[in-house]
């Protein structure tokens, strides 16, 4: 599965606790320091894809002031997928950092 940034951030938002739709939007906003502000249509597209792949699952439903809140949780498969994606991103970042260091050292020489 091709993991986009909103998907990675939505999975990350569910690592510590189950969250409902707008809760995920707020947490993604915090995690990305305001850089990624999920639209509601985008959020549900992301949740559909993550649920379809078994990476998130419905945790519970609650009614808050007469409105429906569905909470989603990260599944074990979702945690594994996020871990793999994080390792891949970390490896890419490490390679980029190493090459930039070499470039800086070469420029200084």
């Amino acid at each position: 599965m091709n993991m986009t940034e909103p998907m990675v951030l939505a999975l990350t938002a569910l690592v510590d606790e189950p969250r409902h739709g707008y809760g995920i939007v707020q947490e993604v906003d915090r995690l990305s320091e305001g850089r990624v502000q999920l639209k509601i249509g985008t959020l549900y597209g992301v949740l559909d894809r993550l649920s379809g792949a078994g990476l998130v699952a419905l945790d519970r439903e609650e009614a808050q002031q007469g409105r429906l809140r569905r909470y989603y949780r990260l599944t074990d498969e979702g945690a594994r997928a996020l871990q793999e994606e994080a390792a891949r991103m970390a490896a890419t970042a490490a390679t980029a950092t190493a090459r930039l260091r070499t470039r800086t050292a070469g420029g200084a020489a």
Binding site: Y22, Y44, G45, R67, L68, R69
Partner: protein, 337 residues
């Protein structure tokens, strides 16, 4: 009791926007999505005439397109329709790529001697170059989508639309509608516009790209080259009679290939997506052939009539088969176009 009683203006407007989504999806998600919208907006009094933000409307529209075309959360019927749209893109772009190759080989053979190339720095020369660019881009779009490079394919298809639209729309703007032949012009426009548009909307983010073998990716290029080869051989052998030969060597060359594929799909009764895609592409082909019945000499009329009868009959049969298969419930194992 009125369902909307007690709802604020903003909530009613959000619910109206959510009607863009398929009913089956709305039944599952509407309340949850409205709750998210309202939590995001906070309580806003009707007096300030609150409206949903354009970005939110666009995101719902994009979600609706994805679900309707077989993305996550779609019903089996929507999945089949989405596959049909992607097949229209592949079949149509493949056809365009084959004719583009034939055209490029002809240009390479005749070079600037072609009268259609126009004088240097003239509008005709610009249009000629635009046409060449559109040809190259349509081949590129087909090869890249077949190799699973969705973004590159979309970029090539989108760029290819620019000269195509210029070519089709500019004369109408410059000359007015006097020269506008409704069926012929609309059919030709559909022939070149429908495949790239199907590519742009059909291969959305919810579809995993699939890498097909090079042999399939390059098949239209080989077909286009073979078509030009046969045409040039006939011309070189001075075998220009009977003229009806040539009605099977222009866009008519697609008719027997399309008809054979339709017969196979009808006989196997396996995939509603293939049936729907062949029906749609057949109707577009039919629309490009029908006007010829009016304009061609009597000697060529029977050939075009045969082509139209073939296209019409099989397009209706495949369309009927596709619609029946979808309405009869669970679809067979999806083909991955």
């Amino acid at each position: 009791m009125n369902h909307h009683e007690g709802m604020g203006l903003l909530e009613r407007r959000y619910r109206a926007i959510l009607r863009l989504l398929p009913a089956s999806y709305r039944a599952e998600r509407e309340e949850e999505m409205v709750a998210a919208f309202m939590e995001m907006s906070g309580e806003v009094p009707d007096e300030v005439n609150p409206r949903p933000r354009w970005g939110e409307i666009a995101s719902v529209l994009a979600l609706s397109t994805r679900v309707r075309l077989g993305g996550a959360g779609a019903t089996p019927g929507q999945v089949a329709r989405g596959e049909a749209v992607r097949l229209v893109a592949l079949l149509g772009m493949g056809t365009l790529a084959a004719f583009a190759t034939a055209g490029l080989i002809r240009v390479a053979g005749y070079g600037a001697e072609l009268s259609v190339a126009g004088a240097p720095e003239s509008a005709e020369r610009l249009s000629f170059i635009g046409d060449l660019a559109a040809s190259v881009l349509s081949i590129l779009a087909f090869v890249t989508i077949m190799r699973g490079h969705v973004r590159a394919a979309k970029a090539a298809a989108l760029l290819g639309l620019v000269p195509t639209l210029g070519y089709a729309v500019l004369p109408l703007v410059l000359d007015g509608t006097d020269r506008f032949a409704p069926l012929q012009d609309v059919a030709n426009l559909a022939f070149v516009l429908l495949p790239p548009l199907a590519l742009l909307i059909g291969f959305h983010g919810g579809v995993a790209p699939r890498r097909r073998p090079w042999a399939l990716a390059l098949a239209p290029v080989a077909a286009g080259a073979a078509l030009t080869g046969v045409t040039m051989l006939l011309i070189a052998a001075d075998a220009t009679e009977p003229l009806w030969y040539f009605l099977w060597l222009d866009h008519g060359a697609a008719v027997p290939v399309w008809a054979a594929a339709s017969v196979v799909v009808l006989a196997r009764r396996r995939s509603p997506s293939w049936a729907l895609a062949l029906s749609a592409t057949g109707l577009v082909l039919l629309a490009t052939r029908l006007p010829l019945l009016d304009t061609l000499p009597d000697a060529l009329w029977p050939t075009v009539a045969v082509q139209c009868a073939l296209l019409g009959t099989l397009a209706v049969a495949t369309g009927g088969a596709g619609v029946r298969a979808i309405s009869q419930g669970p679809t067979p194992a999806p083909v991955r176009p």
